[in-house]
Subunit: 141 residues, 8 copies
Amino acid sequence: MLDEKDRKILEILMKDARKPFTEIAKELNTSESSIRKRIKKMEENGIIKGYTVVIEPAKIGYNVIALTGFDTDPQDVLDVAKELCKFEEVKKVFTSTGDHMIMTEIWARDGSELKEILFNKIGKIKGIKKICPAIILERLK
Amino acid sequence: MLDEKDRKILEILMKDARKPFTEIAKELNTSESSIRKRIKKMEENGIIKGYTVVIEPAKIGYNVIALTGFDTDPQDVLDVAKELCKFEEVKKVFTSTGDHMIMTEIWARDGSELKEILFNKIGKIKGIKKICPAIILERLK
Amino acid sequence: MLDEKDRKILEILMKDARKPFTEIAKELNTSESSIRKRIKKMEENGIIKGYTVVIEPAKIGYNVIALTGFDTDPQDVLDVAKELCKFEEVKKVFTSTGDHMIMTEIWARDGSELKEILFNKIGKIKGIKKICPAIILERLK
Amino acid sequence: MLDEKDRKILEILMKDARKPFTEIAKELNTSESSIRKRIKKMEENGIIKGYTVVIEPAKIGYNVIALTGFDTDPQDVLDVAKELCKFEEVKKVFTSTGDHMIMTEIWARDGSELKEILFNKIGKIKGIKKICPAIILERLK
Amino acid sequence: MLDEKDRKILEILMKDARKPFTEIAKELNTSESSIRKRIKKMEENGIIKGYTVVIEPAKIGYNVIALTGFDTDPQDVLDVAKELCKFEEVKKVFTSTGDHMIMTEIWARDGSELKEILFNKIGKIKGIKKICPAIILERLK
Amino acid sequence: MLDEKDRKILEILMKDARKPFTEIAKELNTSESSIRKRIKKMEENGIIKGYTVVIEPAKIGYNVIALTGFDTDPQDVLDVAKELCKFEEVKKVFTSTGDHMIMTEIWARDGSELKEILFNKIGKIKGIKKICPAIILERLK
Amino acid sequence: MLDEKDRKILEILMKDARKPFTEIAKELNTSESSIRKRIKKMEENGIIKGYTVVIEPAKIGYNVIALTGFDTDPQDVLDVAKELCKFEEVKKVFTSTGDHMIMTEIWARDGSELKEILFNKIGKIKGIKKICPAIILERLK
Amino acid sequence: MLDEKDRKILEILMKDARKPFTEIAKELNTSESSIRKRIKKMEENGIIKGYTVVIEPAKIGYNVIALTGFDTDPQDVLDVAKELCKFEEVKKVFTSTGDHMIMTEIWARDGSELKEILFNKIGKIKGIKKICPAIILERLK
């Protein structure tokens, strides 16, 4: 699906998604229009889903990041997962084969705010049986 | 630490990290140079750690994404976590307070490649006691 | 219940259930009619329950084979187990003394199909409380 | 990879692997030689791995069938799995993403024989850390 | 509460509850009436709760002895425990601080009978949430 | 193996192992010599393993009864189980298929004595990896 | 928030909360009124929440101290935690990210009283799903 | 051991350990010297182990309080527990019958400091196999 040049473009963008096309073109010894076309194609067929900024949560006041698993009755998994997506504090939502069918990443300013989010906001979603948060101590990669 | 305008810039960049400064400036009714200065400052003090492209793994051949926990003797946690960062297949590495002191996200083309990564590559890191992979079925957010 | 010759016939059939009776007879130094009679008797008293073909699932498009445990209220175990037998995707169903009272083997084409099977089809069976899938990485025997 | 006729042949063989080719041909309105050719091709490219007899273990004296998980150090998983394949009592061996990296099916005549197999035979394999047997109460499918 | 002589009597009775008082008296250099009085007193104040025969279950056809834990809602623990006492197959019933608030010892002739007891008889008790049987492989003491 | 009369004798002895043969004979409408012969035969072929007194542990100062599981490397299970049998505080020893391969019943006067037994006496047995005690709150049967 | 002298005062009070201000003042080479003012300020802004006596529970008849986890539906966590605070036997109540969202410390005279507290008193609180007590064997610090 | 008046004194001291003896005496309608004598006696026979100040950890910069379980080989439990007592960050140390033989309460300024304490300081204690921290979200009592 991807040729060697596409892969190299992706690698460059993974490290710096704001790099101008002209610089990418120079690095890969090709024209800017070729880079532009390839990226556009990868955007169109869903390989590239978007570009985002990587933020250090603690620096903007989010001191408690919690990998949080959710247990529900099986018939509620998909509905609960969709509900979870609606909360701004919930940054990522997966269904998985692990100890919990739903895994999320939740950002809170401190333990007290996490408690509020888990029990008074998210915990009110119909169908949730158990919430299992694990606090991230450090992100290394 | 951040004022209202900074927060709005971050929100915009989270949704599209490639948006030109001129457009961000227009949206926020300010000058491009103000945007540029604010972003530069957030980069310098570590609030913005970088910009990256969001890829759909399955579209480039990675069909098995595994949230994978690692158990080690306590004195080996930090060394093992650092070793894990060196593997290209390991996209994220955290230390956490959950069931496993180390949590990672690992990409593989299929179950057979995951097996190779876990047992023949990563599994050889000195100090790992147990590996607990959970396959992501779907990413919703 | 079985004599030595019966056991040897079973061993031969385990390795190749299509081997003609004449060949089995020759291997065991006996007549074809004796083999035929012994096999018929073992079929009649339920020792031999059938003959089946061993398929490589990945070769016919089933890339995700999941050993899947189910939890239910105790009074629902037998009903749920019987319901599970009705699904074509569920290849094996056991009741057991392990972490889950019901254990199954489920075949899916990929993670997305497994998700559909678990949450939208099987998960709708009345009485299921929890579903715990474990993806097979490789079958060695 | 498979066309509709191949699939139907596999379905028939799954239910009765000893059914003569002439009968299969009649059922599918085709010639015996066509059936023979298709099956041969499926055998050659590994879709059909063999034919086997389905035995009721209790009827031949195996009263205790145990789905048994094994824990090892990660670097020993593949070696231990291969060693386990050598034991006749171990009927199936998988590597998996579940609670145990290795899952097996073990047949024993009674609890006392299972104890001998687990602790005095298999338990001696270098690298095994923990053995977790779950006794099958009934196989429904 | 007990003096040295009482303790010695209990030790003797633990090893052979049918030993005649005259023999116990001789062993302890005392009179039969003294033994008789002491035992009667220990029976009266509840130190001795009874005398029982120790049976080898397998010898009378009970091949499957299961240490079985039960989970219930907290308010149902005592009622369920009392209900369990009514079943003849349930030989012992405890409340405990372990993984399960109720622990029992259940005797069955084989796995199939255990399945019937757990799911069709005991499992019908109102309030039971989960049943966790562990099969005894061998009793050493 | 046992006829109806044997079973009735066992039932009587289970409730009161000290009941005189003459009384048992009267209850079952048979002669004392018949009872004596049947019991002797059941003793000889190992159906009856002994007679014991049932004591209320708390009444003789044992306030903490702990169902205690032990984890070991698989090759050490049988040796550790045998070692455990040697301790007087360890009243019962089983190998089992549950969460722990070895299950025991341990009697202690109080929590402090239990701590001494577990860590300073039994814990010194070579090969034990983990000790999991569950305190019995009440014995109902 | 605290200067060095405040910290030293807290250290002294942690070891002996009844120490007279004059003695604290002498130890820290300052005046009693300075100590008094600093302590008052720490009391007012909530740094010092109170002064308490440390009791040896066993000495006043509490022989069973249980660290007890509670599971509830997520929407009930806060209500149940508040209800638990009302029981005199429950000495501490936390919400936490561990295996149980609510952790408590419960004092009982013996196992039988603990059973009563857990099942007949606390267990009646609406919303509790599971109770997991762990008995403290010894407090070392 | 304690009479009614002793109990009342303890209750008063539990709520305010700094309350002057004269006030306690007035509340209980007795003389100051009687209070003084009773308290001295309770101190001497170990009922009262000390007096301490109750601090709000977050107010003095300790934002992360972790109930932390430790697993060790059984023969190392007591040595490890004693070592843990030496660390100032470890405020409480118990041996218990729960999921972990050692339970502690650890104070850290933030997640990063907790990581340092667990892996670089405490984790170096010889004999620790696993560390399981649970972050306290809120203390209610």
